[in-house]
């Protein structure tokens, strides 16, 4: 079995002491001492409040924290049951902290969690980030209940986001997964999710110990679940608020990693998505509400500067990637004034599809290809921000829907460019 080599002897003996469980929640940590305690409390209160009769365990794979995260996780307790409106625990609240080998990679942590879920025959398993401030007990219910009670296999999150939060997801990942894979998962790479025991087992086999670890595990997890016909749903979790010291990696790292993973998945799953038709809506759980979020600062000047420089300087790099018509249309944009510059949906979708096909055919080194997309993405992002500055949430959703439909309309164009030329 795969878990033989993933789980250390110490962890194995701790898991055996716990015995079979119904629900397992994994909280991977790496230097998250400021938020880990709150997340652990939220998970335990979630167990008590919503699954008091279930056998539960919290697994905390730690990537080698040096800031005392492990102690925080071990020492966090729930005692104020009355004020938290929960009952006294009927069962032991098991909690296991374990280091995992291979460095602070999310893949390693998820592998440990899935291996533990498989060994303990958990019916439902959820993963929650330790870096968030907004995790509540209701998140645990939202991620677990659809699996535990409704027989879904994968529960993806729905966050309440500012309209300029998650721009890469809204402009590429969500509409592309929807058009290509035929599944309207709005957060295909959400770090919080719930999985059934059978999907956890299948994912564990997919991430077998002998296989090389690759980046973008969250996206791979979603696409493989869609491809293999598992039952998917979404659950509304509310706002996603990171700890104050959280800093997203630079765009030149994030974009190649995410888009490269998406293009790779498309290459692996081409037999599946070629014939995939219009997506069916996904069941969504949870009470959705509107919330005013703090405005965010956007430096459009810098974005447009990189866009213009990139289009000018990368002409020779872009010419084997893009069709002449697309390249010409993009080059025309650099002469438009900042205020009037708009990157139309159709041009953007064609750009992404041509990049995907060129990535697939390996027309230039793949890292370089993805780096060449950065300025174009910034041009599109700048246009997207300008177009949506004054929109309310309803109008914004309509525009996003329009973009998704454009991705779906142009899917035959993607297939045409994807297929090898004779």
């Amino acid at each position: 079995m795969a878990e033989d080599t993933i789980l250390s002897d110490d962890l194995l003996s701790e898991l055996i002491a716990v015995g079979e469980v119904d629900i397992l929640v994994g909280v991977p940590t790496y230097n998250h001492c400021k938020t880990a305690g709150q997340v652990v409390r939220a998970v335990q209160v979630g167990f008590l409040k919503y699954f008091p009769r279930a056998r539960t365990v919290l697994i905390n794979p730690d990537g080698g924290s040096t800031d005392g995260t492990v102690d925080v996780v071990r020492n966090t307790t729930v005692s104020d049951y009355r004020t938290l409106m929960t009952s006294q625990p009927l069962r032991t609240l098991h909690r296991i902290t374990t280091p995992y080998s291979g460095g602070p990679g999310r893949d390693h942590a998820l592998r440990t969690i899935f291996a533990a879920a498989d060994l303990l025959r958990a019916k439902a398993c959820a993963v929650v980030s330790a870096e968030l401030q907004s995790v509540t007990p209701e998140w645990i219910e939202g991620l677990i209940r659809p699996v535990y009670k409704e027989q879904f296999d994968l529960v993806t999150p729905l966050y309440h986001r500012h309209k300029f939060d998650g721009l890469l997801i809204n402009n590429v990942v969500y509409p592309m997964v929807r058009a290509v894979y035929g599944s309207g998962v709005k957060e295909p790479l959400g770090k919080e999710f719930g999985v059934s025991g059978r999907l956890a087992k299948a994912l564990l086999e997919g991430l077998g110990a002998g296989q090389p670890l690759r980046s973008g595990i969250d996206l791979r997890l979603t696409t493989s679940a869609i491809r293999d016909g598992y039952l998917l749903c979404q659950t509304f979790l509310g706002p996603k608020i990171h700890a104050p010291n959280y800093a997203e990696a630079d765009l030149t790292i994030v974009l190649p990693r995410v888009i490269g993973t998406l293009f790779e998945c498309m290459g692996t799953d081409e037999a599946f998505w070629f014939s995939r038709s219009v997506p069916a809506p996904l069941p969504t759980f949870g009470f959705q509400y509107d919330l005013s979020l703090e405005p965010v600062r956007v430096n459009r000047d810098r974005m447009l500067q990189v866009f213009r420089n990139g289009v000018r300087e990368f002409a020779s790099i872009l010419s084997p990637i893009l069709s002449p018509a697309t390249l010409e249309a993009i080059q025309r944009l650099i002469d438009v004034s900042d205020a009037d510059l708009r990157f139309p949906d159709e041009l953007w979708v064609k750009t992404i599809y041509e990049f995907a096909a060129s990535y697939h055919h390996g027309v230039i080194h793949r890292d370089h290809l993805l780096q060449a997309l950065v300025p174009l993405y910034l041009g599109r992002t700048s246009s997207f921000v300008a177009e949506n500055l004054g929109t309310d949430s309803m109008e914004f959703e309509q525009r996003l829907e329009g973009l998704c439909l454009e991705y779906e309309r142009l899917k035959p164009y993607l297939i045409e460019r994807w297929k090898p030329t004779t």
Partner: protein, 233 residues
């Protein structure tokens, strides 16, 4: 007197004829070797082409930008260049072998010298080829990284990296074939030193203010507040 002269001429002609008769089969042998060599060289070229196609050499060259470099220099694609090189080296070897059958001592020494030199030429060509690929690849990576980081004069930096790597490659290739070894080494050292000194002076004196601004922008708190608050994920 006349008889002596006639005898001399006759003997010379006899000797020449004898030599020609002796040489004729050798020339014929040489021509046959050259012809066979030509056929073998063609076969070797085809085999090499096929092997390179099997290992997807074309795609590799496209990936690394070698095809584009060759196209810019109005050269055929790298796969054609490499197979042509193999053809000419093979045929040249047979050509030399054929000539050696004539038995001229001076020529044989030159041919032996050539055969000693062939591996070095081949290695030099490989060094040049890999070096140019690497230079192009690195220059492109620098250009992409610099433009994406919004660094001014990205093209200039990228070209500087390319020129430096090409210079290094050419120096290494020339050293391999031992062509004016000392001159190449000295020329390279002087050129490299001059470029570095020039850059140091230009940046240290002429670009003092620019350098200060760059460092300030990189490390002061003011710069950090200019950043976006948008999240891409």
């Amino acid at each position: 007197m006349t008889e002596t002269l006639l005898n001399g001429v006759t003997q010379t002609l006899d000797a020449a004829l004898k030599m020609a008769i002796e040489l004729l089969p050798k020339i014929l042998g040489m021509l046959i070797i050259i012809a066979i060599g030509w056929v073998i060289a063609i076969v070797v070229r085809l085999v090499v082409r096929r092997l390179l196609s099997l290992v997807k050499f074309n795609a590799l060259c496209d990936n690394l930008g070698a095809t584009q470099i060759a196209a810019k220099a109005s050269l055929p694609p790298p796969i054609d260049l490499l197979s042509a090189l193999v053809f000419w080296v093979t045929w040249a070897a047979f050509l030399m072998l054929g000539i050696s059958t004539l038995g001229f001592v001076v020529l044989q020494e030159q041919i032996a010298e050539f055969f000693r030199y062939v591996p070095q030429i081949f290695i030099a060509v490989v060094i040049l080829f890999i070096g140019l690929l690497f230079a192009n690849f690195t220059a492109r990576a620098v250009l992409l990284g610099m433009v994406n980081a919004n660094v001014p004069s990205a093209r200039l930096l990228s070209n500087a990296v390319r020129v430096f790597l090409v210079m290094l490659t050419v120096a290494m290739a020339l050293e391999q074939i031992a062509l004016a070894k000392t001159v190449v080494l000295i020329a390279f050292s002087i050129a490299f030193g001059a470029v570095m000194l020039g850059l140091a002076i230009a940046f240290g004196l002429g670009g003092r203010d620019v350098a200060r601004r760059l460092l300030e922008r990189q490390f002061t708190e003011d710069a950090k507040t200019e950043k976006d608050e948008i999240s891409h994920l």
